[in-house]
């Protein structure tokens, strides 16, 4: 299989959708002339024209609301919100309209749209530009949340997002765009709600999604050196969440660590830990542990930012504590 970057994998799937379905269009800030702040849509406006790849004003709320309305009207919009930080300005549209229209209309209306946004910290963008809030989106009934880790995930999950007839929040961790991985040329869908066992192991289950899977992988490699075989799960979607794969792994390892970039207190890691307790309490040899971001606004200084983010060494230390 050819090697592609996460970015290239996204581009491949987006191009296919634009080519295959004329009702698909892209809109967002700087996705056209500028090429996308993370260059995901670079060249698309030239190729597909300004009616298919639309630059918008800096108006997050109407960008998302307009996407919802366009979906109601028969199109299939892909809205890019640049980053999850700015999505807070469109939060009302996502929570009160996108997620509720199907239900409150008694099933008359549906909102087939994909909302892409870059997420995560690590490049010293300071507090207003370093959020990892996908857990908030996962909390909303009526929404689905995809959190790809590999380029393969990116390609497959994005295709599935375009097949879905509900609003899908599609999270792209900025640290992943340049990472490479094998991706088949031919199109394929990756089902939502199916986690990947990214690395097999028997001693402990490390649960990550999006960027945090990488921290799990690095930790697993360190642990392997002391003969501890960690199983690494890549969740792929948070809503729906594949709790079965998680529980199956925990039944085998009897220990679990959830790793998340987001603030620890009140974060999504708590949901995963609780579900494991609810469904596999008697299988647990130790409480499910969490390695999460520090409960602080993200600082700019490198040392502080790194200290605020979950590190492989933190995971290793926690695992040692469990075993």
């Amino acid at each position: 299989m050819p090697e592609l970057t996460f970015r290239e994998a996204l581009r491949m799937s987006l191009r296919e959708e634009l080519l295959a379905n004329e009702r698909v269009f892209l809109m967002g800030e700087d996705i056209g002339a500028y090429g996308g702040s993370y260059a995901v849509t670079k060249g698309f406006q030239k190729e597909f024209g300004p009616e298919r790849v639309i630059d918008t004003p800096i108006s997050e709320s109407v960008i998302v609301g307009c996407g919802i309305g366009a979906a109601m009207g028969g199109l299939r919009p892909m809205v890019e919100l640049m980053t999850i930080n700015f999505s807070l300005l469109a939060f009302d549209q996502i929570v009160n309209n996108a997620s509720k229209l199907c239900y409150m209309s008694g099933g008359q209306i549906h909102v087939p749209m994909v909302i892409r946004m870059a997420s995560g910290a690590g490049s010293q963008l300071s507090s207003q530009h370093s959020h990892s809030l996908e857990g908030w989106y996962a909390h909303i009934p009526g929404i689905k949340v995809a959190v790809p880790y590999t380029p393969y995930d990116a390609r497959g999950l994005l295709k599935t997002a375009f097949r879905d007839d509900n609003p899908v929040i599609f999270i792209e961790h900025t640290a992943l765009y340049a990472r490479k991985g094998e991706v088949p040329d031919e199109a394929f869908d990756l089902p939502f709600g199916q986690a990947e066992v990214h690395r097999k192991g028997k001693d402990v289950t490390l649960i990550g999604y999006s960027g945090s899977v990488y921290q799990c992988v690095l930790a697993a490699e360190q642990l392997a050196q002391d003969g501890i075989e960690a199983e690494v799960l890549n969740l792929r979607t948070l809503r729906p969440l594949d709790i079965d794969t998680i529980v199956a792994s925990v039944r085998k390892t009897h220990r679990a660590v959830v790793v998340e970039d987001d603030w620890r207190f009140g974060g999504f890691a708590g949901e995963i830990a609780t579900l494991i307790m609810e469904q596999a309490f008697d299988e647990l040899d130790a409480p499910v542990a969490r390695v999460c971001g520090a409960d602080v606004p993200m600082p700019y200084a490198k040392q502080l930012e790194q200290a605020a983010l979950p590190q492989p060494s933190d995971i290793v230390a926690v695992v040692r504590g469990l075993i």
Partner: protein, 336 residues
């Protein structure tokens, strides 16, 4: 209900068509009086916002549109739904929270939906539906289906950020939307003069280079005429149009409103301009309709409203087992 065909110019409206406008206003008035009654009897719960006094705005505007033009409105939506021809029985059933309601009892008074009539819903977040109007209009443009969008909101919505974002986008993209502001001078209990930098709402459209007019919202024919003008502008591809309808609500903001904020005198002034009495006497003096004919109309409407209540009363409650239905889409995909 008899739909007004091929939208004649206002001066060419036939006798029947003008009587139909009166009928719609009478129906809305009576339907809501009954709803208030049912609310007092606790048959209806939640918030109930009546359109009483503002009937001419929705009736005149919607009559000037084609049946497949999209309508989006706010939580004060009974009048717009009835004017668009949504079945009174299914609306009343929705207010009763019954399984036969237009929104299957999930929406209630603030969230009436009937997509079969391009009635795209009532929304309860002030100004939250304006962005949706942009999207629907964009879809109509791309699909070249000739449909336009009527987006109705109040004077209070004008100060929300989404109003600004939506009008700017609609103008830049020349989206076929009629922005219809129902200016009744109050946002809940707050007087527009205390919260709006420019109280002549239509003037705000200048900031977006959107043509705008102020209309007498108590005059159904003026509403019809202005809306037709706006619709022609849109259909000619010139982009959005802004209408400010001057009107007044005769009841409280919702059933809960103590109305401490406005003096009864002002209310009485406006009651003299009741859009129904005005139009009725106009039609009478023009000899279009007479006393008995009106009585006849009213008794027909009485039957329709009573039938609506009966239908609602006798309809089944939603099944508790259905709680999780429609959180996600269960129907077909609309692309392909």
């Amino acid at each position: 209900m008899t739909q007004i065909a091929d939208k004649p110019k206002v001066e060419e409206l036939s006798k029947e068509q003008r009587i139909e406008l009166l009928r719609q206003m009478l129906l809305i008035r009576r339907f809501e009086e009954k709803a208030a009654e049912m609310y007092a009897k606790r048959k209806i719960a939640g918030f109930l916002h009546l359109y009483t006094g503002e009937e001419a705005v929705g009736v005149g505007a919607i009559a000037a549109l084609n049946d497949d033009d999209h309508i989006l409105t706010h939580y004060r939506d009974h009048g717009h739904a009835l004017a668009r021809g949504v079945e009174p029985g299914r609306i009343m059933a929705e207010l009763f929270g019954k399984a036969t309601g237009v929104s299957l009892g999930r929406g209630g008074s603030m969230h009436l939906f009937d997509t079969s009539r391009s009635f795209m819903g009532g929304y309860a977040i002030v100004a939250g539906h304006l962005p949706l109007a942009c999207g629907l209009a964009l879809a109509n443009m791309r699909l070249r289906n000739g449909r336009i969008v009527l987006c109705v909101f109040g004077d209070g919505a004008v100060n929300e950020g989404e109003f600004h974002e939506a009008l700017n986008l609609a103008s830049v993209w020349k989206l076929p939307i009629i922005f219809l502001c129902e200016n009744n001078f109050f946002g809940m209990g707050t007087d527009i003069r205390y919260v709006s930098a420019v109280i002549e709402v239509y003037k705000r459209a200048q900031a977006y280079a959107i043509p705008a007019e102020q209309i007498d919202g108590m005059n159904v024919l003026e509403m019809y005429d202005a809306t037709q003008r706006a619709a022609d502008h849109l259909r000619a591809g010139y982009g959005p149009y802004f209408l400010e309808a001057i009107t007044y609500r005769f009841r409280g903001h919702s059933m809960a409103d103590p109305e401490l904020y406005r003096d009864k005198g002002e209310l009485e002034e406006w009651r003299r301009l009741d859009p129904i009495t005005q139009f009725r006497s106009q039609l009478e003096t023009q000899g279009v309709i007479d006393e008995p004919a009106v009585a006849q109309l009213q008794s027909e409407i009485e039957d329709v409203v009573n039938e609506a209540v009966r239908f609602a009363e006798e309809s089944p409650d939603p099944q508790v087992e259905s709680l999780y239905d429609h959180v996600y889409w269960q129907g077909d995909s609309h692309d392909a």
